[in-house]
């Protein structure tokens, strides 16, 4: 438990740092976003309205500390104000749907690549010197050298454009409306195949190679020799004795790379015009829509930290040695 709590403390600290960063950065720029908004709306506000807007966005003339505390208070309550680029849509409305799509894509890619990579890694390590062992690691090494989004572009080009097998953008067909119908779900799945597929293809290699090397290290341990001397069947030695130990370092590695993969998902979302948090973040940044930007950045960070927390809790269940520390 202390293990999880320690990590939780770190995550809360990280969230606070992101919040503060997002507060400080816009205020280092000349001008303020409210003026930008007024500019866009061609000055159709009365002074009273402008004052109200300024208050709403937190760009009052109050001392910085007061603004900061107000900002924190709003953030904790999930009130991020109104979007500037999509005025007057509420920021929270935009990010809630985006969050859903990002989490869907992210969870599927993370889980599938980790599970596939781990299983392949176990098989490859067990049959060392076999055909799979000489081919797969190098092959996946090469594939893994490609930037995610490049492979995404390539896949989009080959399978979307040239062969027309898969849709080229969005999370579901534009002709459908969201709802719990098979048609909708089917469309969602089909639209997931390429974005998820490209990320999985590139990430699997990492897990395979990592699992293979931890398996090789574990297979040299004495308790494996003992398990074999006990006359246990191969599959039992492989799973109960080897894999259960070899997966631990990979699991922590998995936790550490969640941030990298979910953060990097931005690029995939751009290539496929997939309406997730990353997609909107890039648009918000280009439009200098600070309220939306702040919220999106925070959401991405929170999603990553939540995933990390889940992984931490799972790890405690897998490794009895951390339970006593």
């Amino acid at each position: 438990m202390k293990y999880v709590l320690r990590h939780l403390g770190l995550y809360l600290l990280a969230i606070w740092v992101s919040l503060t960063l997002n507060f400080v950065l816009p205020r280092t720029m000349p001008g303020d976003p409210v003026s930008a908004l007024i500019g866009r709306m061609h000055g159709r506000f009365s002074p009273a309205q402008i004052e109200a807007l300024r208050k709403a966005y937190g760009f009052t003339n109050a001392p910085l500390v007061e603004q900061y505390l107000q900002y924190l208070g709003h953030a904790v309550r999930g009130d991020f104000g109104l979007s500037i680029s999509a005025y007057p849509v509420k920021v929270s409305a935009i990010i809630s749907t985006a969050l859903m799509w990002t989490v869907l894509l992210g969870v599927i890619t993370l889980l599938l690549s980790f599970v596939l990579g781990t299983i392949l890694g176990v098989i490859v390590a067990w049959r060392r010197g076999g055909i799979l062992d000489s081919v797969l690691p190098s092959l996946f090494n090469f594939i893994g050298s490609f930037p995610y989004f490049f492979l995404a572009m390539l896949a989009l080009f080959i399978f979307g454009f040239t062969l027309d097998w898969f849709p080229m953008s969005h999370a579901y067909s534009d002709l459908l409306s969201p709802g719990p119908t098979w048609e909708f779900i089917g469309s969602v799945v089909v639209h997931l195949i390429m974005p998820a597929g490209t990320v999985i293809l590139i990430s699997v290699g990492g897990w395979l190679i990592g699992m293979r090397s931890t398996m090789i290290a574990v297979l040299a341990e004495d308790y494996i020799i003992m398990a074999e001397a006990k006359g246990l069947p191969q599959w039992q030695v492989m799973f109960n004795y080897a894999m259960r130990n070899a997966i631990l370092p990979n699991f922590t590695q998995f936790g550490m790379s969640i941030g990298f993969i979910l953060g990097g998902q931005i690029l995939t979302e751009i290539v496929f015009s997939y309406p997730g948090l990353g997609f909107y973040l890039v648009r918000a940044v280009t439009a200098h829509d600070y309220p939306l930007m702040q919220a999106l950045f925070l959401m991405i960070t929170v999603a990553i930290l939540a995933a990390n927390l889940i992984v931490d809790m799972l790890y405690v269940r897998l490794d009895p040695r951390v339970r006593t520390t």
Partner: protein, 303 residues
């Protein structure tokens, strides 16, 4: 020297080094290989590869080959510079934390962990959007968002080396902290530093390309990343103009792959367990020993 020699004996190292050297040479001699301004208009837009334009033309009628060759300079330069800076910063912070211990270590460790946890790309984008686009901006934001991972690695290595007897011996014999760090601890970390440096170079090149692709760099300069940005913006995919984005992407992948091979070779030479593993599998192949679970009985081996 011994290290270099055994390194060169590895096929992986030779392959990786040659490939990487090829790209570096291309970057160094870029103006000779593809003379003229790479952004100038040379022909019709989106022309497929031909004898005149080896990799075809872009959506704005520029020569892809020229852009590829000239762009390699910026991409590789940023990659190596940022890779070097990340390694340096990570080394400074990680070794200080690991060696000093106590409160300094605690604080630096928390700092490192926070930077590790906060997602890099979103932070990169946010920072880059507030600063004027350009090489200095890219170098700066990439460095301050990516030093945490090597810092963590170097810290744990410093921690374990600090406990070793030869360090205690130097401390007792009165060596100054400075000397201990530089002549005792650092040399024993060199292989780690080298592989970390190469890893950081790969990361830097990829991150730079990613940033450029999203449009957060100076899109008027020519680099592999901006080539990809323009390909995306000019809807290369919808036009079927694969030659505008495949070459730069492929180059990034090849540089990354070559560097990875080098890292593996360094690992194999320096990691004692990997070395014995390799020696065992070489020996087993030589005598054609089947890799079964039970010890094999081969009576023919006894003369």
């Amino acid at each position: 020297m011994e290290f270099l020699r055994s390194l060169l004996l590895q096929r992986k190292a030779v392959f990786g080094a040659i490939l990487l050297a090829g790209f570096v040479l291309m970057a160094l001699f870029a103006p000779q290989i593809a003379p003229g301004d790479p952004t100038r208009f040379v022909g019709r837009q989106n022309q497929p590869p031909s004898a005149e334009h080896w990799f075809g033309t872009t959506g704005q009628g520029q020569d892809v080959f020229a852009q590829l060759v000239r762009g390699s300079r910026i991409s590789l330069m940023i990659g190596f510079t940022v890779g070097f800076l990340i390694t340096l910063l990570g080394l400074a912070i990680g070794m200080t934390a690991g060696f000093l211990g106590g409160i300094a270590d605690g604080l630096l460790n928390v700092l490192t962990n926070v930077f590790l946890i906060i997602p890099a790309l979103p932070l990169l984008i946010t920072l880059a959007s507030f600063l004027p686009p350009g090489i200095t901006t890219v170098t700066f934001v990439l460095t301050i968002t990516s030093w945490a991972w090597p810092a963590r690695v170097f810290r744990s290595q410093t921690l374990s080396l600090r406990e070793k007897d030869f360090v205690a011996a130097s401390a007792i014999s009165g060596e100054s902290t400075f000397r201990i760090i530089f002549s005792e601890i650092l040399p024993n970390m060199m292989s780690l530093v080298v592989s970390s440096f190469f890893g950081n170079v790969i990361y830097a090149i990829a991150a730079d390309v990613g940033l450029a692709f999203l449009g957060f760099e100076n899109v008027t300069t020519v680099s592999w990343g901006t080539m990809l940005y323009w390909a995306q913006n000019n809807s290369a995919l919808l036009q079927g103009a694969w030659w505008t984005f495949v070459p730069p992407g492929l180059c990034v992948a090849l540089v990354a792959f070559a560097t990875t091979m080098l890292i593996y070779a360094v690992d194999e030479v320096t990691n004692p367990r990997l070395k014995t593993e390799k020696e065992i599998s070489v020996a087993m192949k030589k005598f054609r020993i089947p890799a079964r679970r039970a010890t094999p009985v081969i009576r023919e081996l006894a003369e």
